[in-house]
Each structure stands twice: as C-alpha cells, then as structure tokens.
C-alpha cells in the first residue's frame, strides 16, 4: 500500500479542568491513505472531534494540549511544528468542515469574500483572480448561479447551501486531506443525501483523503472504506467497513448496532446498551466500557490489549465476540 497521507501515533490530548485532567483522547493510532475515506465513529464525548481539532491544532487554549504522540503529515509532526507552519497547512493542505455551517461562516462577510480570503492568503492570488476562482469552486459544489451568489451573505443561504459554501471554502486550495466533522448532521435527510453524494464525488475528482467524523453508522456505511469506533478517548475497534458492519467483535460496537432501529421491520427489537458513558475525568481502571458490558470478567480491570482479530480487523477487548459466531447477525 502507498505511504499514508496522515499517520497519528499514540496521540494523547488532555484538558485541564477544575475537576482534574480530562483525557479526551488517550493513545490514538490512525493511518489515512491517499484517496481513502475513513470514518471515525462514536457517541458524544468520545473524543472524535478532539482528535480532529488536535490534527489542526485548533484546541482551546490554554485548557487543551497535546500531551503525547505524533501527528505525521508531509514529513512533519503537526503536534510540534511552529504556529506559522501549522497556519500554512490549515485550510490549505488540510481543511476542515464543521457540523453547524451557520456558526462557522462569518455572518458579516459575503460568501465570496470568505472563499476569496482563503485563496489570497494561501495561494497569493489577487482579488479579481481569487473572485473568479471562488465562483468556479462554488460551481463545483453544485451552487446554482455561483457568480451571482458571491455577494450574498450567509443568512441568505439555506442550510444545505451554507454547507455547500463551507465545502467550497474547504476545497478552494485543493487540499490533500479534508476533515469533515459531522458534515450532514444538522441537515435534513434529503439534503444530507445531497451533501454526502457531493463529498464522495469531490473526493473522486480531486483524489483527496477524507476523515469523516460522525455518530451516524448509516453515514459511515454510505461513504467510508475504513472505520474506527471510539469510546471514552480510545479506539476500541477498527476494520474495513464491510468487515466491521458484518462482523463486529467489540461488545460496544455490537451494542451500537443493536441500538439502531433498522429499515425493514422491527425484528428482534432494540437492545440498548445499559447505563451511561462514564465521565472522562473519572474512568474506571482498565477497560472504560466494563460497567456497561455484558461480557465483563475479571481481566477487564486491566487495560485490554489491542489485538488483531483477523487481518486488518483490530479490537481492544479481553473477550471479543467470536468472529465465526456471526454476532452481528444474531443481534440484528
């Protein structure tokens, strides 16, 4: 396989709070290859967004900091490069789109100005040149009459169109990697389908890699090739999408699938995961999932090993489900 575009090794991101140090990301490894769409899934507070913010060094200061680990991109370690260097990469080689387009666009500047700004800053374009390029990029993301919409303000756009404008801004410098943090969560299903389709198409067209962060397993199944499931700051399972969806082995992943109502009937009913996500400031020793786990036993008091179940399929568990057991099917 080709060299990874992005390689994260042992990332630990921590927040200093009044109640102590919160380990939001606790030893994360991740590899992203050229042209790959990688899904990072988990529930709120699992550390998936903090991972994205760590990559671009957008952590709130001074509370948040990268305590350990390396983020290798382009031969550099993003965890330690200088502020000037990360600014050259941010929005240029790696760009990011957020969940809520209304809060990530500046309401007092026109859409055109905001896209032009990226081009002028990173590509050194002049005003007129940047304007033409901005219109072209808006056209790429499926904005009708792009040149006419350049002078519109964000409030004049619908939610779906705002997200398209965000994507245009992220795409303006033709990044190598696009991080999409819940890009379609705030949108209606029919608009969500349009946006996911757009991201998949653009990825093809420009050969970008996409790191998709979401809580929605449906979205992952639609557009990702590989997926990692996070729980309480750690990746608990990772595999190719087909493999993970047909043979999940970590009890948490299996629990997530069993919590989903499925199109095509109410066979079997919902089997929720009991209990709630533990507080990150106060995790039990060993496996963070043990208190909610039906397969818990003595060993779970110790940190579970990261093991390869079958080639390319890893899980962090003392007692993973048997692959041959067909766990997913029995639960669905």
């Amino acid at each position: 396989m080709s060299d990874p575009v992005l390689q994260i090794i042992g990332l630990k991101t921590q927040f200093q709070t009044r109640r102590g140090v919160v380990k939001a990301v606790d030893g994360l490894d991740l590899e992203l290859h050229p042209g790959e769409t990688f899904g990072l899934v988990g529930e709120s507070g699992c550390g998936k967004s903090v991972t994205a913010l760590s990559i671009l060094r957008l952590l709130p200061k001074p509370a948040g900091r990268i305590a350990a680990g390396r983020i290798l991109f382009d031969g550099k370690d993003l965890a330690t490069v200088g502020e000037a260097e990360i600014r050259r990469i941010r929005g240029n080689r790696i760009s990011m789109i957020f969940q809520e387009p209304m809060t990530s666009l500046n309401p007092v500047y026109t859409i055109g100005f905001q896209i032009e700004e990226v081009l002028r800053k990173h590509r050194g374009m002049r005003r007129a040149e940047a304007r033409a390029e901005a219109a072209r990029t808006l056209g790429l993301v499926g904005m009708p009459e792009p040149a006419a919409r350049l002078d519109d303000y964000p409030h004049q756009f619908s939610g779906g169109m705002r997200q398209r404008a965000m994507i245009a801004m992220a795409l303006a410098c033709r990044p190598v990697l696009m991080i999409a943090d819940e890009p379609s969560t705030a949108l209606d299903v029919t608009i969500q389908a349009q946006i996911l389709d757009l991201i998949a198409r653009l990825k093809q067209e420009f050969g970008m890699s996409v790191l998709l962060i979401t809580h929605d397993l449906g979205v992952v199944a639609e557009i990702c090739r590989n997926v990692a499931v996070m729980y309480a700051g750690k990746v608990v399972e990772s595999a190719g999408v087909d493999e993970l969806f047909s043979r999940p082995v970590h009890p948490y992943t299996v629990g997530l699938f069993n919590s989903l109502p499925r199109v095509g009937g109410r066979t079997g009913g919902l089997k929720p995961i009991p209990g709630v996500v533990p507080s990150l400031a106060n995790l039990p020793p060993g496996c963070a999932f043990q208190d909610r786990c039906s397969r818990r036993h003595e060993a779970c008091g110790e940190e579970p090993p990261w093991r390869e179940i079958v080639p390319g399929h890893h899980a962090r568990c003392w007692k993973p489900l048997e692959v041959s057991h067909g766990a997913a099917d029995s639960g669905r």
Binding site: D188, Q192, H215, L270
Partner: protein, 321 residues
Amino acid sequence: MAQPILVAEHVAKHYPLKGAGFSRRRGRVLAVADVSLSVAAGEVFGLVGESGCGKSTLGRALLRLEDPTAGRVLFNGEDIAAFDPPRLKQFRREAQIIYQDPYSSLNPRRQIGDLIAEPLDIHRVGTPAERQERAAWLLKVVGLLPEHARRYPHEFSGGQRQRIVIARALALNPMLLLADEPVSALDVSIQAQVINLLKELQTQFNLTYLFISHDLNLVEYISDRVAVMYLGRLVELASRQELYREPLHPYTQALLSAAPVPDPRAPKNRILLTGDVPSPVHPPAGCSFHPRCRESRETCRSEAPAFRELSSGRFVACHNR
C-alpha cells in the same frame, strides 16, 4: 379500526408575517395547510417530515396549544375549540406532551420529586404526601430510583432527564401522549433505552401516542400508522408496513431512499432530490412538491392534488397515483 381518540378535520395554521420597522412587506407563513387525520385509541401514530414541514405546529394545534386558523379538532368526539375552562383543564390532564430537549424542559432549580409532582399539585390530586409517593412510584416506572426525588436536574444525564420528563407526563394518567422528537437530542445507545421505555409504557398504561420525528427508522420501529408531511400538508398516510414496503408518493420514496442505511452492502439506489424545500411563505402553485418531483406534469404545476384514499386506509396526495 378502534374508536378514534383524536380527529383533525381540514386543520390549517397560518402565521402573519410582520414587516420589520416601516417595511410594507406583508404575507403569511402557511405552517399547516388543510390536514385531516384520525388517531385511533391505543395506536402509535407516527408523523414524519423534514424541518419546517409543520409537523410540530400540527401537533401543537391538535393539543390546543395553538389555535388553528381553520378546521377543527375532535378529542373523543368533542370539539376542543369549544371546551370551556373546566373542560380545558380536564383536557390538559388527558393529553400530555414530551419535547425534544430534556435540558430546557426541566426547571434547573427544582428537585426531581417536585417536578414530577407539579402536575398533581396544579390539578390538586391527592394529599401532598400521596403526591410525593406517586412521584417516587413514577420514578421507578421509568427506570430511576425513588431516592432520585431529592436531586436536581443537572445531576442527571440526557437520557435520564428524558425519563424524568416522561414520568412527569404520566403523572396525571393521560390517554394521549404527544412525543415531539423525544429522542433526537440523545446518543444512539441512549435513544434505544428511551424508545424501549416508551413502548413498554404504552402497553402498561394503555396510551395513545402521536409520535413526531424526522427519523424514518425510528418512526418505522415504533409506529402502527405513519403520515408523511411536506410543506404543511400530508402527502401520504398508510399503515407502517404498507408505507415502508411500498411508498407511493414521490416525496416519500425520495425520503426513504435518502435515509442512510447502516449496512454497506445495502443497495444504494438513492433518489437524489434537487434543490431545497421551498419557503412556506411562497409555496409553489399546484402541488407544493412539483419543483423537486421527477414525475411532475403540467397538472402538477397548476392544480393542488387532493388527499385521496386509494385503498382502505391508504391515503396519498398525488396526481400520478
């Protein structure tokens, strides 16, 4: 079908648009336009639609939390607009509502026990001691502990708070429960817990649910019959099985095909709708879905389709069906 508990006849709700300052802009928002439906006692009636389609406004009109501009709503055969104050107060006991956000629907300065007993206080049911006892019992019913009664809302997670909201809604033994996106603010693993609880309570207390949601999978899971709304109108109404097996309205078809399926091997024949939902201030002439519809014809542009019963219990508003 069982006796309908709730009937809507041609209900419409318009809001006037206020022009800002001296602006002469006038108009109205057609939040709900001509909706007729009936909910049978003991069923779960699902109402799906995208944001701004009027599903919440319709729900509020059905409980007389909004006065409809036109049409009428019957509760057990009585017109709710004609209720006098004592009868209205009685109605407030019989029909309850659960909202989406459990963070904003609980007063942060009151203890859980008092929050749950508040409806009993208002309606003067039992003695204060009996009310506290019932609150403790309700906490157990929704899967919490009686000793939680002395705690405050901030001590609970989102899922637990929604359980508290449900306990409060059940305090007065209602017949009808309107659940407006009851689990949308919760994480997946917690959603399933709350949905299972709602299902159990429905059997235990013989409740009728009006379940409003944008989540098609969830609505399929919990509902007996499902109505689909688009731009203030019902476009389709059918039993759950029929609607999901064979959706008839082009909008329902697109909506179902757009929902992401958590199975990478599922066939992906998505119907991608072009464009956005039009503004309810200027709804398109004719069928309001025609600008995005792949089957639209000349008639669709000029004439609004009637909401017709195609076969028993199966309604659709489309010229091409």
